[in-house]
Amino acid sequence: MELLSNLAFGFGVAGTWENVLYCFVGVVLGTLVGVLPGIGPATTIAILLPVTFDLSPVGSLIMLAGIYYGAQYGGSTTAILVNMPGESSGVITALDGHQMARQGRAGVALAIAAIGSLFAGTVSTMFIAASASTLSELGLMFGPVENVALMTLAIVAVIVMGRGSVVNALLMVLIGFALGMIGTDVNTGRARFTFGIPELRDGIDFIPLAMGLFGIAEILRTLEAPQQRDVLMRRIEGLWPKWEDLKASALPILRGTGVGTLVGILPGAGTLLAAFSSYMLEKKLSKTPERFGKGAIEGVAAPESANNAAAQTSFIPMLTLGLPSGSVTALMIGAMTKHGISPGPQVVTQRPELFWGIVASMWIGNAMLVLINLPLIGIWVAVLRIPYRHLVPAIILFCCIGAYAVNNTPVDVVVLALAGGFGYLLSRLDCDPTPLLLSFILGPMLEENFRRSMIISQGDPSIFLTHPISVTLLGLAAVILAVSALPAIRRKRDEVFVE
């Protein structure tokens, strides 16, 4: 069995004590930050990026993945306890989870969320391992022309799947490209748009940019609304669910896992759609749909399993093709390029230790979530009780230190400040910065591959339509664009985001 030997190889990589340690630190830090109200996984990852940049590529990606699961689970904890989800998919969990907490069943809700997540994580890890073996063959057939088409598809997917107006998303893509231009031109060695600042010769660093756009901007956003929290002051007891709770949750966990696994693969779909679809499915299948929204355990079990499954399988397009499915995977791709790994189909064949190590660490991370987070729930509740006015300066300070430490230059801290202000402006203008970050990362690679393709074709752009893989990918991009323009789908999409 190739699948099993690949997985065993992966566990060999992820199971070394350092990588287990990185995974552990990632899960704990991710939960710690993710538990803070109003802070979602993307913000958590952005804030914690500097912690990982010194590690080996495998170690840093394992830690980032751990941060992601931790943040996701921390967000659910907040959704259940405080009804203030940090991320969009937590909104669904909050519907019934917070009601359960109000009925004194917070412990059961948290435990079911963890058990569902672990089950979903196990299934989707196997799924990733199985699908990657077949997808990796593709990588050998990619040249510059195919890379251009693939990156175009990635960008189109992010434009289409994001929130709000498509034109605004396009603007974000173009601004991302423009910011990516800053630095030295690869082909000629000429400095472009550096405005005489020597530190900019290497380009804007991805870490302070991401921290500003996602971290600082998000903090500013939370300062707009008055912070009102009603943290459950009661001690959380009865962590272990009763037999009937488990019985009621078993099928929803199974179905949530199925829905999440499939939805997660769609580029750009993300965890919200997975959690939302599985919640609606449970409500439809239930004999007592009126219980939903009033503390139904199925309403926690299904979306929590679904969002975790989707969180995992969203790594499939990212790791096998370099296609991000949202801000989180865009940040991970940025981290990969920072370590000199260009995302794309060649990763599985050229860096098998990276690919299989991450896949195996996904399962380890999920197991850690259950083993660590449930016993530590008291700590997370204590974190929730820290007044927000103490947290904000602390987070900002850690962002400053992190940004400075990347290259030991104050210019990066200035970039952090500007990116934060700009990100906040964008959020006021209904522009989601995810496409910006993605095209900032892909832009330089896209330009290089584009220029190489044009040399191959002697300046004839029809080369993208004569290479079979390229024309398929571009066709797919065109189909996605066309479908999203249909009024019925647009309305549906808006509905999902409104809920």
Partner: protein, 155 residues
């Protein structure tokens, strides 16, 4: 900034600004040909695309303005105080980290950013700043071994 018209106008202005910078600062970069592109070729394409997007968004704003678009989003006000003090805190850190070291610049940055929110007293702000400065001076350079200067280089 709550009306869609004003929002679109500002968005269009941002697009136009980036387009202008690409045209202006990219004017001296050689364009090259489609076969052998120079460093200025792709920026020029980008500047044209940004100009087009700026025009589309501006047109959208004009149409919405003509129709007196009724849809107004309920939104909280811009947190100018937050932008001012957090911005000041981060920039102060950028300016001071090299001359003053981590401990002092952390205190100043935390006190400045804490002004973005109301606190019980000035004492609370300084206590928080002192605690965070001590914490980060111990954790980052020593525990995580980041090469950060804790004290001014004179010491």
């Amino acid at each position: 900034m709550s009306s869609p018209v004003r929002r679109d106008a500002l968005t269009a202005a941002i697009a136009a600004f980036f387009s202008f910078v690409l045209f202006y600062a990219g004017a001296r970069l050689p364009l090259g040909t489609a076969v052998r592109m120079g460093p200025g070729y792709v920026p020029r394409l980008l500047a044209i695309a940004l100009l087009a997007v700026a025009l589309i968004i501006a047109a959208r704003a004009v149409i919405a303005w003509r129709q007196k678009h009724p849809r107004q989003t309920v939104d909280f006000g811009v947190t100018w105080k937050g932008v001012a003090f957090i911005g000041a805190g981060v920039l102060a850190f950028a300016l001071l980290i090299q001359p003053l070291g981590l401990a002092a610049s952390a205190v100043i940055a935390v006190v400045l950013t804490s002004l973005a929110q109301t606190a019980e007293s000035l004492r609370e702000r300084f206590l928080l700043a002192g605690f965070l400065a001590a914490f980060s001076s111990l954790v980052f350079p020593f525990a995580l071994e980041l090469p950060l200067p804790v004290l001014p280089p004179l010491f």
